[in-house]
Amino acid sequence: MKDFSLLIQRLDQLTKTSEKVKVLSDYFKTAPQKDVVWAIAIWSHRRPKRPISTTLLREWAAELAGVDQWLFEDSYHIVGDLAETIALLTCKKEVTIHHSKESLSTIIEDLIALKTQSENQKKAYITTKWAELNYFGSFTFTKLLTGGFRIGISQKLMTKALESAFDIPSDEIAYRLMGKWNPTEVTLKKLLFDNDPEANQSRPYPFFLAYPVENTPEDLGDISQWSIEHKWDGIRAQLIKRNETFAIWSRGEELITEQFPELQSIKDQLKEDVVLDGEIIPIKDGLPDHFGTLQKRLNRKRITNSLLEEAPVVFRAYDLLEYQGKDFREQTYLERRNCLESIPFSGPLQLSKFKIFKNWQEVEDERLRSKEVKSEGLMLKQIDSTYGVGRKKGDWFKYKNDPLNCDAILTYVMRGHGRRSSLYTDFTFALWDRDPKDPEAKLVTFAKAYSGLTDQEFKEINRWIRSNALEKFGPVRAVKPELVFEIAFEGVAPSSRHKSGYATRFPRIVRWRKDKKIDEANRLEDLKNLVR
């Protein structure tokens, strides 16, 4: 793992994307191929399953570091990253060179084997590694053991590095890395170079993503060049039917076919082989339901009949990527739509309709109809555009509904993670449960938000927190109800997550209302009125 933890150290010391690509590309060219496969797996979210709970890791690390558990936890909250905390606490100052002798793939094989071993064996293996590795060795090792490997290397950046290392176009690489492949079995050659029809069978295409409209859609120019459709609030998904293969992939590249039994009938409904791009949405009385309803369906081990009745879904298609075995992505949007509309739509397979308007005012009017059709706003797609890879500016835009908003009171604060770990940046907001003049009036929490303020404002609020913090609950501090903020969100629905009994979608801070006193904040009743 020496090469790999040196790579992590180098990447950590770079801030420019072009330099990161170069360093990563050099690694891909020189590292053992098995290690390269694992590095690709790690940065495309295919790490082996965690062999051990983080609770145990934290206990063992505290023990090895010789600090009490509470002190370990408090340190962790301030550092904001578990692997980093462990490296800081357990590395001996004098160990400065040891990066580990084993290769990346050996370590990962060890970790896979570890999963079935006894707790004592796991502890012995892991604590020995911590004790002998240097800071970056230990940091990298623990990152492999725990959650996502988020160190500023996106899949896009990795794809670029692979392009430069192996001279394969990055779109092609993005496609090859899609879908199901097993890093323990696959070779680098098979993954990147071979044409394997069997592997292609269930492989999805990279998703094409939209940019938000920046100012006004008029900036996009000639209205006749744009197709307009409603934007559905569900799970972006790709539905594949190729011969006997039927697969549904989420945008996170997870195979979700089994999670939606009511979509299985689509397989027989489709006469031709196709790959469709669309949205899985919850349906109630023929109209899309809250996203919250769909959330009940996610990550379930067992899909019960009552759940199916309570939260049924449909697949609403809006693009066609492959038809009768032919890649359609280079066709124009209108050509793809033409072909898409020749498919028989019925039952759980629905078509998302589009329109071409005469002027931008009609577009605005259509957007105002979003509430009626229960969409999140509009999608604007250039009619001659091809289906690209990832987020590319210019062809697809999302033009969302104006957010809902209310004025709320800051009640709890928590330190941020990563880059924001030294500041309180995670804020919880509350509303009045009745008229604030009522002596019985209480504040009830309804949203947590951490974005929308400038660094300067965060600094000012942090200074305020220092002298206005009340009780402490672990990493969370209650603060004196005094500051009022305008909070924007996309929707609101009943939920048990917050004391108010309601939760909002994508809450964020719009501005600090220094001009408002707490009795001018909104009431819970106002929020309830926003439930659509």
Binding site: L71, S422, L423
Partner: protein, 338 residues
């Protein structure tokens, strides 16, 4: 129970028996100052008492104030209460302030560090009954490497930048860290230039310590005359327009806060060199144990966590609120040039 020798008031740490304040944060008649950083020696006091070595910088910052210089280890009396200053090792002139009255001893650390930085007179920790301590880095995640290792890291980074024709820029506080860098970095390595604010501090310290002569970084300097240069700037200097003409820059920050990756990314610098003028966790513990204090009060830093830790190892420890800046990494305003 008799009243405490030192108490915390809205104006600062107060010795009622002597009617004098230690590092007050509001204007008072008489202040004893631990060191010359802006949050410890503020404007507006009628009289300042500080170590001789702090006097030039305080005068440089505050102008013609009424200030009296005192030597270390030489007790002086204020209204019958005995005060003594001892070296604190934080920056040049920084002092521990010991207060002795009717057999009771209290010690205020100001800011302090255990490692000998070669410039400030090394810390001489004292025994006391009550210890008022900072704990800026009072968490076990903060453990400093020997400074020589860090300075070699900096020199390696500088060499690498030179080989690639990058200009190296280090952000460091203009009083303390900047001089420490100057003192330890080998000037044979290449030209070093410092921000005018740092040059001004060097100038005011020149009667006390001598530095290798370095050029002051001004807008009219031509980078071509200084290939492979290292620029030392206060954190507030990163907006300076003339940096543009220095070609491709590689930036670094030299601070104890650089121990965590999050802080480094917040600052958006390429490298973070972990070097501090404060005690790390182990050094704090060493000093506090040495003091044999019956009561420990933590004033700034991770006070809640660190005092809880101290209680866990048997100290009678608590916290008091003091208005010293928590020298947080995101403070873009330098503590000296405000």
């Amino acid at each position: 129970m008799k009243p405490d020798l030192l108490s915390f008031t809205s104006k600062g740490i107060y010795c009622a028996a002597a009617d004098v304040y230690l590092d007050p944060w509001r204007p008072v008649d008489k202040a004893i100052i631990s060191h010359a950083h802006a949050d410890h020696s503020r404007y507006g006091n009628k009289k300042y008492i500080a170590h001789h070595h702090s006097v030039p910088v305080i005068k440089h910052r505050l102008g013609g104030v009424n200030i009296q210089g005192i030597s270390w280890n030489e007790p002086f009396s204020v209204n019958g209460v005995q005060f003594t200053l001892y070296p604190a090792g934080h920056i040049v002139g920084s002092s521990l302030i010991k207060v002795m009255h009717k057999g009771e001893i209290a010690l205020f650390t100001g800011d302090y560090k255990l490692e000998n930085d070669g410039l400030s007179t090394p810390l001489e920790m004292q025994r006391c009954h009550t210890l008022i301590t900072e704990c800026t880095f009072g968490l076990p995640i903060f453990r400093w490497k020997p400074q020589q290792e860090v300075f070699s890291e900096i020199e390696n980074w500088w060499s690498f930048n030179q080989q690639n024709s990058f200009t190296s820029v280090i952000y460091a506080y203009s009083l303390g860290k900047a001089q420490r860098l100057l003192h330890h970095l080998q000037s044979t390595h290449g030209p070093i230039l410092v921000h005018p604010a740092i040059a001004a501090v060097n100038e005011s310290l020149s009667t006390i310590v001598s530095f290798k002569s370095v050029q002051t970084l001004t807008a009219d300097i031509n980078p071509i005359d200084h290939p492979g240069a290292l620029l030392i700037l206060p954190p507030s200097g990163r907006e300076a327009k003339y940096l543009k003409k220095w070609g491709e820059l590689r930036t670094a920050s030299a601070s104890g806060w650089m121990a965590t990756r999050g802080n480094r990314r917040r600052r958006n610098v390429d490298r973070g060199f972990v070097i501090s003028d404060h005690c790390d966790f182990d050094a704090l513990n060493t000093c506090i144990k040495y003091s044999e204090a019956e009561k420990v009060i933590c004033t700034h830093g991770f006070t809640d966590i660190y005092s809880k830790y101290l209680r866990g190892i048997g100290f009678n420890a608590g916290t008091e609120h003091a208005e010293f800046e928590e020298e947080e990494v995101e403070n873009s305003t330098d503590l000296l040039v405000q």
